[in-house]
Amino acid sequence: MDLKKYQDHIISNTNQYITIDANGVILDSCNSILDLEKKQSLGSLYPFFDTFIELIALNKEDTFFFSCIHFTLPQNKIIVDVTLKTFIDKPALIIIQDFTSHYFAYQFAAQERNESVISKEKIELQNQFLKEQELFKSKFIANFSHELREPLEGVVAFSDFLKETELDYQQESYVNIIESSSQHLKKMLEDILDLQTIKLNHTKLQKDVINPLSFITEIQTVFKAKSQKKGLDFVSKISGVLPEFILADQIRFRQILSNLLTNAVKFTEQGTIYFETSYNYERANKYSLSFIIRDSGVGIPKHKLDTVFESFNSTDSNYQIANTKSYGLGLSIVKSLVETFNGSIQVESEEHKWTEFTVNMEFSKPNKSDILLLKTKQEQPYNQDKKIKILLVENSEITQLILLKIASKHKNIQLDINPNPEPDKFIEDLELNAYDLVLMDIDLEQQSGVDLIYRIKKHRSPDLKQTPIIVVTGKVLKEDLQVYKKAKVEAVLKKPFTEKEFLSSLTSVLGQ
């Protein structure tokens, strides 16, 4: 086989050589691709070549390369690469190479790539638009329901006044309807506001330290009583060992479980309410807990299961009217709340038989200083019998008054006050009086409460050294708490405090 012949044949068919003069007039051409005649102006046939005149006019020896140029020929379209070689005082050479099939493949790939990029962008834009719309909707609803509260307040108050006037039987029954309807409306508005504030992330989640066991036990107790009042059985179970402490917004956490349990009781006429708490795992300083709430009540129709967590989903209003009781916004609130705990909620149900909600939530693990603060917050029953001698080191008259008032109610508490201790005398005083407890303010007039704490805790007398100290202060930032912890105080009581909080802090430090 004559390779050279093949090569020549292919090259001559896919390569064209043209020479042109300084005005772009064709001097010669082998015409294997473009059909050209000598003495024609190349640029007027194919405007692509127009710019060549300027390049040739530079009168330099140079090479210019142009790739992927489209030409429309009488019969077909081609895609070529063009090389221009210019010389000094000599005609320029143009080489055209036909790469149509090669570029077709490239076009195909580019088409796919560009289309997918553009459609991805469109989806992103669409999503962003939907998000903005949702946000606008939420804001609008939140503002709107807020606006409605004031006139509603008027309705509620004046139907109340109306009830106090002379009314006949029928009038009174009408007023009662006005009253209960407006209460209902008010509750709905509150729910809407609640939902929207959660959605708008306005709810700042508190980080309370919670002992999950006592928290759950308390909820169990409340709902056991509610179930029994309605003649229902209440079965509760805790699987696995719950962590000692978790961090969570106490109010929100309670809201989730109470909401689901309240619904369970509300929708069940006979049978059992089942409440299970399980510990799943600890991972990356987070605890995972799950909760199951099951009732043997009316159930949820299959076609409603998908939308039961959506707000304003009452497309099936017949169901709601027929059942007068409805989940209302409760479940959307629960779902939004669960989401703030990085959690998820699922529902399963069989109509007229049972409904089961499963909630999974994540809780952060508290650090030590958080736990210290809790010790004083935990509500523990307070033992009234034990005599307690307390020294209050505090210069705020208000705090002095509050504590004196509390002490006067509890005969077993003896409260001495030292508003402005002089350090040496202060220690002497402590040794003499053998206090059971010191309540220490941090901002004193002449020295820092922390210094005084160190004097006590570092004292050589073991008795004095062990005197429990509760810091009473408004300074409870993380850094502050670390300082108190380092000073080895027993607890911190945060100002302002209630009597109950004060008493339970006593109990937690002094024991029962």
Binding site: P47, I69, I79
Partner: protein, 163 residues
């Protein structure tokens, strides 16, 4: 003597460069998107009645590119003007436009640049007004290859600028 001017049309892909040229040269529009690769060269003669002149615009319809520095430099050789097209409905096509225009200004100094916001049929007048504040320092116009809004004006104004 016949005047012929090379105008290079650049911009991200899918912004409507080919559609603008097709609307201007053939008065047609297609909803279909056929990706351009390399370069298509078309020409159209424009008469400028004011000074009784005819100009042939040689329009270089370039393959779309999100980075102007990646454009084959030989395409830009000997260009008399640039039309930088972006898509009013896709922020990604004008996100880096100021840098791109500055780059053009520096590498091709003294070559006029027109900024074109295309697909004006899909956005509101208010939106265009807002967008336009970005291009205070540039010659800008808002077009629709679909409805032909401002398409002729774009090329006519450019032709006038070039003679």
């Amino acid at each position: 003597m016949k005047i012929s001017k090379k105008v290079v049309i650049i911009g991200h892909f899918g912004v409507g460069k080919s559609s603008l040229i097709r609307q201007f040269v053939e008065n047609t529009f297609s909803e279909d998107y056929k990706v351009s690769i390399g370069v298509h060269i078309l020409k159209k003669e424009v008469s400028i009645p004011e000074n009784n002149k005819d100009v042939t615009l040689v329009l270089w319809d370039l393959e779309g590119n999100s980075d102007i520095k990646k454009t084959r430099t030989s395409y830009l050789l000997g260009s008399h003007a640039f039309i930088y097209v972006f898509d009013l409905t896709r922020p990604s096509t004008y996100g880096n436009i100021i840098e791109e225009l500055e780059y053009l200004k520096v590498t091709k100094s003294n070559t006029p640049i027109i900024v074109v916001g295309n697909k004006s049929d899909l956005v509101t007048k208010k939106f265009i007004k807002e967008i336009n504040t970005k291009f205070q320092n540039f010659n800008s116009i808002y077009t629709s290859a679909k409805t032909a809004e401002n398409v002729n004006d774009l090329f006519l104004d450019l032709a006038k600028q070039l003679v």
